[in-house]
Symmetry: D2
């Protein structure tokens, strides 16, 4: 749609298309998790970021092609990923399809235990392993890059409690932009908000969100996810051409 | 202003406020330059990026406070800087004022010979020296980070000709994001599009734009400047608090 | 071995163990290549960097386990990789073995067409595609990070001619440290010296070295490879522990 | 000196020349500090890193030229800096002299309250402000880049207690390499080990070391400082040439 501002300026407005993917197993097999997220984590996130003005659909592991047909991915500007128990059940073909879309510009927001998903590992080039402890402790996320759009609307820090702990060393490439660092009661720290570029695509990893805690109702967590959707959806350049190429300049006496 | 999309979604739209600063000396003392930029480089840039929908004003060296009163800077979301002959005539007080505004979130786009401006040197922490040659040669700027919003609307490369040459080593800190690399006929390369974060602010250095050539009428150059304005104007987080601070957690038996 | 300096200071000196891997096909099937590298590219490199004082062995594709048994890799401080025609013939098991060793601290120096090797792609998380042209042109590599040890002993730039051209966009993650940028006669540029960290390991990608040209007799090219061996062999920290972990601090009333 | 290894290999060994600078005021005016560091912080550091095999001298604020004549700086491979009360008493001329030496390749290790020194601010381009609290708490420094030589010989983390707290936001440019993150009892985190490149020089900022605590007797702290001396002393490339330059290639019909 087009929006006219004053007499001359016209903005082309395009709603960001978001697909929220969830493996959707804990919520259907564990009463505790079901009581927190009765419709699934994906629906909680969809409700939580809806007011920010995205066009949202969801997809889950048990759907055909895990709900991620080529058509769905082509529609998608930003894919949000939550997985934990079933990383190995995600078909390699689907992983490759997501990978190709990211390199061609689709944004990817990987949440919490998605750190060990095959798509994240494939894009990072490392194991993405870490330390963890599920002991309902307090996490305090400090902003260490307040110039980044993902920090809009947040304070200098925000807290999530209770939460699972993730601790360093987190086996990722050094982030292109490190945005949050978490403090945990048990004595650990963690690089909690990590931004990366791959091909034409932008990727954001965000730590909080264990299935056992109501983290995806936390307003700061939702704000970060919404900001991350906007940032990973920002414009990119032209698709590169690879392979054998003719010279742009004459040399060696060529005419 | 607010824009309603469909029934519920409301976007707060805010035009980006841009101040284009030019030392405005070449254009008033050299007929060749005056013939290319009769109203000054600042007006050429203002006309060129106007269609992208910014609120624009200009400022020049000879104005009181170089046209950069605190009020003007407070109004400004993004400051574009062109200077060459008179870096030393820019008052230290004004440099400090710009510096403080950048650290609090104002965007800064430094063009061409602005590499040796006091404000850019102060923000970089290096001399920002380089090699140069004014020989009307061909420059080809290659996109090396097509994921970056500053590359929107460009091809894989674009050319500017004729132009002055700038060559490596360019004494800058390694850019947070390196976006363009230039090829020159004479055999040199240059990091031509460099993005930095300082405090809450974003900075973009863009190489082309010698006063002797009509570079600021080149549509790709203008597109990059417009994209850079948008990128440096993106949201930032809360202003940090510094100094002595009370603990957020009890320890050592404190209550 | 130990070296005593003055009365008290003792240095532990350890020769760096280097394994040079080459697929070794061109040299045995193409007379032109055989005439340049009669014993293979691996032997040319071994001779060329020998004077820098490394303990060197070589390995080739046709050996059992491609010459890269676990024992060989455990012995190896730095692995140099040259491959081109046969990336797909390198067994996945061997790729995984190298990958694990890099993450535990082995250095890796990837040369030229090794950009499409499975080990490099796996560590980068991208396709590592690029433009190319085999037209015997002049390449000039400019130093853009003279603070880096890999630039020791070089001038501001050095030339390799004739060489194949590699051009941007090079589909790699933004290097942790970008050290060389190449200029080509045909009008392209390329990020020719790229340093990365993965786990405990350091990786260096170096562009020159097409099989059709005598590049591995060029003293600057050899100097870069020797410097890269030293840099990727520098010390690293302790091996991380991953998984479930106990808190280091008491909280929630725990004692 | 030269060292022969086996029959042929010769290493040129050069002891690293270290100058430890200290403002040396607290130790002469405050009994508590004097009791911890009776000969001054500089002498404690000199003793602590001596066994690592450096050639060490010290310099203090009250000496002529603050002990940092051009001759001393030319001798110096790595300058260690500790200051707190008297940043403004360091003469601008001396700051400029250090700055010039860093850009030409001298290493710089800035300790603790040196974050607000004029030389560090000038090299960073930011205020380097932070939060602080002197409450004798426990600091735990986690290694977040175990590939870096500065982490050699350390565990996954080490503790310093008691110490002053420094908390985010720390107003520095995003480090080129972030090596340590601190956890504090009071609930804060801090980027405690930050590596930068400027010109030919390497810089390392290391957080611990308040004058009120015996931090510079801690073996891990000393190990980090010794490692940082080695890293900032590693080789660099040729000194760049700046200014007007002739083309390396013919163009525009030039012969």
């Amino acid at each position: 749609m087009k929006v006219r501002v004053g007499k001359e300026t016209i903005f082309e407005m395009k709603l960001i298309h978001v697909t929220i993917w969830n493996e959707f197993i804990h919520e259907r097999t564990e009463p505790k998790v079901a009581s927190i997220y009765p419709k699934g984590i994906h629906e909680a996130i969809a409700s939580g970021i809806g007011p920010y003005g995205f066009r949202i659909q969801t997809a889950t592991l048990d759907q055909p092609e895990h709900g991620l047909s080529q058509e769905v991915l082509n529609w998608t500007d930003v894919l949000i990923w939550w997985g934990h128990l079933a990383h190995e059940q995600v078909a390699e073909e689907i992983v490759d399809r997501i990978y190709a879309r990211v390199l061609k510009g689709m944004g990817l927001v990987v949440l919490h235990s998605g750190h060990r998903s095959r798509i994240f590992q494939k894009l990072m080039g490392t194991t993405c392993d870490l330390k963890w402890r599920s002991d309902a402790e307090r996490e305090r996320l400090w902003v260490v890059d307040p110039s980044h759009p993902i920090t809009e609307g947040l304070g200098e820090y925000f807290e999530v409690e209770p939460e699972e702990m993730y601790g360093e060393f987190f086996d990722i490439p050094a982030p292109d932009e490190l945005i949050f660092i978490s403090w945990f009661q048990g004595g650990e720290v963690f690089r909690s908000g990590c931004a990366y570029q791959r091909g034409l695509g932008k990727i954001f990893y965000f730590r909080p969100g264990d299935q056992e805690y109501p983290t995806y109702y936390n307003k700061d967590v939702l704000r970060v996810i919404a900001n991350a959707v906007r940032w990973t959806a920002t414009a990119h350049g032209a698709e590169p051409v690879y392979g054998n190429t003719s010279p742009l300049e004459k040399f060696n006496g060529d005419v």
